[in-house]
């Protein structure tokens, strides 16, 4: 996910980014625009202070070794305010949570460590 400065060259910046991703062997699945909004806090990047930005979400498959080079490339891009690469949340398995299990406190009263 990355944030881009709102300018007419947004499309060019996006194209650059996607091409850079594909150069590093990433297979882009989907590109979503999460809208332009005022940032939750002012962000300083590349010697400029930004208060509005466009949010873009790029779904891609990539080898884990390419993450570093992708991040480095995105941090050099002036149009990208805050680059972020995260694992896809839906690929992680969902574990069942049983809630807070009541623990019998009588057992914890005295320590069960072996004393000489």
């Amino acid at each position: 996910k990355m944030k881009t400065k709102k300018q007419p060259e947004t499309a060019a910046a996006l194209k650059r980014t996607v091409e850079a991703l594909m150069d590093r062997g990433a297979i882009v699945r989907n590109l979503e625009n999460l809208g332009d909004r005022t940032l939750p806090y002012k962000i300083s990047a590349h010697s400029q202070r930004h208060s509005r930005g466009g949010y873009f979400l790029v779904d891609f498959y990539a080898p884990a070794t390419a993450v570093e080079s992708i991040m480095e490339h995105l941090s050099r891009d002036i149009d990208v305010i805050r680059p972020n690469v995260v694992k896809h949340p839906l690929t992680q398995e969902v574990k069942e949570c049983e809630g807070i299990v009541p623990v019998p406190l009588e057992e914890k009263l005295y320590s069960t460590k072996k004393r000489k």
């Binding site: 930005g53 995260v86 992680q92 406190l105």
Partner: protein
């Protein structure tokens, strides 16, 4: 010795009922538009779309994340929520020092009482 054990046994029972009550209260589903899924039948904390859910666990005045004794979540879910909040804040989706104005009217999920 016997008296001590009896007293501690009583305390243990009180704590057990408190824990069980907490788990029961958590299973009540919220009736408002913003859904809050309880700790026991919780699915994975989503990527970055669930800002209303995450904003329910921070203070509206300072933006600090509530602790386990206030939210009443179990260990795993508290950790997941905290990590998701921190991730959203650093990525620039969620404000850090305050609660987003759109989510101020959400149903109260945490066990906190504000000064009128």
């Amino acid at each position: 010795m016997a008296a001590l054990v009896a007293v501690c046994g009583d305390l243990g029972r009180k704590k057990l009922t408190h824990c069980v009550k907490a788990a029961l209260c958590l299973t009540d589903p919220g009736t408002h538009a913003v859904l809050w899924r309880s700790c026991s039948q919780y699915k994975h904390v989503a990527g970055n779309e669930d800002l209303p859910l995450l904003s329910q666990f921070i203070s509206p005045f300072t933006g600090c994340i509530y602790g386990r004794h206030i939210t009443g979540l179990c260990g795993k879910k508290q950790k997941e929520i905290t990590k998701a909040i921190k991730r959203a804040q650093i990525m620039g989706f969620m404000p850090v020092t305050y609660k987003d104005a759109a989510y101020l009217k959400d149903p109260k999920v945490c066990n906190i009482k504000y000064r009128e």
